[in-house]
């Protein structure tokens, strides 16, 4: 791939929410890296359940969502580091990469979500 094509790549996070434990590490890592106020988040974990579905099975999911404050950790990435939420995720369910490569992974990983935050615009 030419340097030009690389520069035009869009980046995102792939989140395998099947195993997201709702541990808040991503939220806290982001807040501390960027000194966010108490009510400000670059990433925020949503919750579904615990609830019994119509098959009497318990469902209990967490799903971290990227807000408009997310820069995909541009300063860290420039240094060669991972986004701090990805680095610290306790269940290691987050991946940083180009949308193209993450989309390929997404096809193979049920219960995942791909985020392309605003900073990509």
């Amino acid at each position: 791939m030419s340097a030009n094509a690389l520069a035009n790549q869009k980046y995102g996070l792939l989140i395998h929410y099947d195993f997201c434990t709702g541990c808040h590490s991503c939220e806290m890592a982001c807040k501390k890296e960027y000194g966010l106020e108490q009510d400000q988040f670059g990433i925020k974990v949503a919750q579904y359940g615990p609830v019994q579905n119509s098959e009497k099975k318990w469902e209990f999911f967490y799903m971290p969502m990227l807000t408009d404050l997310c820069t995909l950790c541009a300063p860290r990435v420039a240094e060669g580091k991972l986004p701090t939420c990805v680095h610290h995720c306790q269940a290691k369910v987050m991946q940083y990469g180009t949308i193209d490569e993450l989309a390929e992974q997404l096809k193979l990983t049920p219960k995942s979500a791909l985020f392309a935050p605003k900073c990509n615009a």
Binding site: H16, C23, S25, Q38, F60, H88, C89
Partner: protein, 783 residues
């Protein structure tokens, strides 16, 4: 497909102790409390001008593999909290409870301690001084040594944790039955972790009585289990509450709190009746199988179903899966300990691991020792510093023979409490009064003490108290005469060997006059009994431990450079003659086998096989009480935010979890006219406290789960930070424990709940305790 996160850039994250990165000096070390938890995760501290400015998880550390939980991510708030203790302080005896402290020097503090200790030793005896510690903190190997070598007292103990209900019950029965500790295998013994060729992914992980991803108990990082789940492990989850793990489990057994022994016996009943056991292992490596078969014969799944409130078929299905899944890892938690039937429950659980043959096999339950056999965990290694005569004066040794088997060198918590209350008249050995407490890294009235208002009275009754901690706590405000500031993880040299591998904790910064726990104890020993001190610096002490009390062939400087060192690991040690003192194959027990039946217990008046005992206050054992208090109360469930009573003072953490929560089924709330978020009084015949309702639709409608560890650092210190207002340990009780001496009912009591109103909240529990002489009811006594 296993999502492994990303690959870290190892050009930036080096395998060295320290390097420069831009303006920062980066230090690679281990973080262990304070602040923290039971764990010792690998961290990178980024330091500028002597101050830590940033933390990251260490990708080169195979313990946490780069991750961190929210507590360490927020470590700067802990380290640089304005309310941290900065200097040694003293307070006049008559000012106890008042915020009237006088700054002194360390030398003045040691002078006061030396004078008091020598006076007490001379006039009352060395044993009149008690040393107390909190659970899982980086004080539990140091304080026992300081107690024995410095104070020369046999009485070091957990700070009023009734029935020693944390790990001691499990570890004592494990020692009797298997000669060792058992830990579930998530590849933590192998440096290549999940990629190791030797490791096998457990087909089944049985998680019993804990939520490891939140609690990280017993030297074990809970998220290892999530890695195994990603690789295919399925769970049997034994827990009264639905949580993330129970929702994901193949079999979730929602048992009535405190009935674990009945469930475990019914599982054994199915395994034995359906001939699902590993008979080869049983034949070769166990003793007493027929006795176990007999003991569980009557505990059918149908009977257990009634006792435990679990559908019969669920018990059968789970038992079949646990028996046939290979390998099956057993992971058990503190809920086993926090019920009067802790010992028989432990017996039944060890039987499950043994009859399925899942011992010391890859992916099973590992026979676990500290790395390099360093003798920190057992505490007995330090006992050389006290005489046999002194040991005879350890409180609780005579009343509870299980403590005398070389398993635990701790004085019994409830016996200590009664000793204080009776000025020694109730001692199970020579009568002597308790004249001084040395309390390090513990905050009993906010956290581990059952019946907190009673324990508050007791700690205030002791004539002289030294408290060592990082912030002003309710316990320190209540009773300290001397208050010594402790350093945090990155401000002290230390080592970590609970369990495997061995890790260095290194001092890279400091905070005012705070000293490391090791340094404080070493100074104490050098003052009081210098011949027992291995030197004056912590490094001398650690080098002495490595050289003379371990199999390591390196010193602290080497370990500090390496940060983390993995000894060679062996599976199937019992087959290879690696466990017994005589080098023969087998286990470290009298028969050389895992003793399913323990003759020693029988000889000491206890049951050699598991049995079921109803919780002492329950719908069936106290039906009258149940009419008045129609909900089963379980306490102490963990959250990601807090480690016991820690972290309430940190704004970033508190914002996630501002108030104490009691989980209740929404249908129960509807019947009681309660909504989510309502403040409610939780009350029983002893007392009450208030917490906020959190709906949990997965709880049995008859069960509620309340949090522990709540105090309010933002409130008035002279009201003890309102420590009793939301304290669930107003409702628990001391001195009502298992016959073995182990296990108190933190997890299985009765209560009622009702909405807080202005009228019914006029006298808060804190006001009742501080202004009105406490709550009136008949206190239990050890039988």
């Amino acid at each position: 497909m296993v999502v492994k996160g990303n690959t870290y850039n190892l050009e930036l994250y080096k395998d060295m102790y320290t390097w420069q990165e831009g303006d920062y000096q980066v230090f690679r070390t281990t973080q262990w409390s304070a602040p923290g938890c039971h764990n010792g995760c690998g961290v990178l501290f980024y330091v500028k001008d002597g101050k830590v400015e940033k933390i990251e998880g260490d990708p080169q550390n195979g313990w946490n593999c780069g991750t961190l939980c929210m507590r360490c991510l927020d470590i700067l708030e802990s380290m640089y909290d304005e309310n941290r203790l900065k200097y040694p302080m003293k307070r006049a005896y008559e000012d106890r409870g008042k915020n009237k402290w006088e700054r002194i020097t360390w030398d003045e503090a040691y002078d006061i301690i030396e004078e008091k200790v020598r006076y007490i030793q001379k006039n009352y005896g060395h044993e009149s001084i008690i040393a107390e510690i909190g659970t899982g903190r980086n004080v539990w190997w140091q304080v026992p040594w300081g107690c024995f070598a410095g104070l020369q007292s046999p009485n070091q103990t957990g700070a009023f944790l009734s029935g020693d209900s944390c790990y001691s019950p499990r570890s004592s029965i494990l020692a009797l039955m298997s000669g060792e500790y058992l830990t579930s295998d998530m590849s933590q013994m192998l440096p290549d972790r999940y990629e190791s060729k030797e490791w096998v992914v457990p087909e089944c992980i049985t998680i019993w009585g804990c939520n490891p991803i939140m609690s990280n108990g017993d030297g074990y990082l809970g998220h290892w289990i999530v890695e195994a789940m990603k690789r295919g492990s399925e769970l049997v989850m034994v827990d009264p509450r639905i949580n993330w793990l129970s929702a994901k489990a193949k079999h979730w057994l929602r048992l009535r709190p405190g009935t674990d022994a009945a469930l475990a016996m019914a599982i054994l009943n199915v395994m034995i009746k359906e001939k699902l056991c590993d008979y080869d292992f049983i034949e070769k490596w166990t003793y007493g199988f027929d006795d176990i078969a007999k003991a569980v014969e009557d505990m059918t799944p149908a009977r257990a179903s009634e006792i435990c409130w679990i559908p019969e078929q669920d018990i059968i299905d789970a038992a079949r899966f646990m028996a046939t899944a290979k390998p099956m890892a057993m992971h058990w938690g503190v809920a086993i300990d926090q019920q009067p039937s802790a010992t028989p429950t432990g017996q039944a659980l060890i039987c499950i691991a043994a009859v399925t043959g899942q011992i010391d096999n890859p992916g099973g339950s590992l026979v676990t020792r500290s790395a390099y056999n360093i003798s920190l965990f057992s505490q007995e290694g330090f006992e050389d510093n006290i005489t046999e005569e002194q040991k005879e004066k350890r409180l609780g040794m005579h009343k509870y023979p299980m403590r005398g088997t070389g398993i635990s060198a701790m004085a019994h918590t409830d016996v200590v409490l009664e000793s204080i209350e009776t000025d020694g008249a109730s001692n199970d050995c020579e009568q002597y009064p308790i004249m001084m407490q040395w309390m390090q890294g513990c905050n009993p009235i906010a956290n581990m003490a059952a019946e907190a208002p009673r324990v508050y009275e007791a700690i205030c009754k002791v004539p002289f108290n030294v408290v060592v901690d990082v912030v002003m706590t309710p316990t320190a405000m209540a009773c300290a005469d001397l208050l010594l500031p402790a350093a945090m993880g990155s401000e002290r040299d230390s080592i970590r060997a609970w369990w495997w591998p061995l890790r260095a904790i290194t001092k890279i910064t400091d905070y005012y006059e705070a000293h490391g726990d090791e340094q404080i104890l070493l100074d104490l020993v050098n003052r009081l009994n210098p011949s027992a001190a291995p030197g004056e610096e912590v490094k001398d002490w650690v080098n002495d431990l490595l050289a003379n009390h371990s199999e390591a062939d390196f010193d602290f400087d080497y370990l500090k450079e390496k940060v983390i060192v993995w000894p060679e690991w062996h599976y199937y040690k019992h087959e290879k003659g690696l466990l017994r003192w005589d080098g023969e194959p087998g286990f470290n027990t009298p028969t050389g086998k895992i003793e399913l039946r323990v003759d020693w217990l029988e000889a000491n008046g206890l049951s050699p096989v598991p049995f079921y005992e109803e919780p002492h206050e329950s719908p069936y054992s106290t039906p009258e009480l149940y009419k008045e208090y129609p909900l089963v109360l379980t306490t102490g469930a963990r959250s990601y935010e807090y480690f016991h009573s820690e972290h309430r003072n940190l704004p970033s953490i508190r914002a996630f979890h501002p108030d104490p929560l009691v989980e209740v089924n929404p249908e129960t709330c509807k019947e009681l006219g309660l909504e989510e978020g309502d403040w409610v009084w939780i009350e029983n015949q002893r007392s009450r406290c208030r917490q906020r309702i959190k709906f949990n639709p997965g709880l049995d409608k008859r069960v509620v789960a309340a949090e522990h560890g709540w105090w309010f650092p933002e409130s008035d210190p002279e009201r003890l930070f309102n420590v009793f207002d939301s304290n669930i340990n107003n409702l628990t009780t001391q001195c009502d424990i298992g016959k073995s001496g182990y296990g108190a009912a933190y997890k299985c009591l009765l209560c009622k709940i009702y909405k807080c109103t202005e009228e019914n909240s006029v006298i808060t529990p804190t006001a009742q305790v501080l202004d009105k002489g406490g709550f009136k009811y008949e206190r239990k006594r050890l039988s």
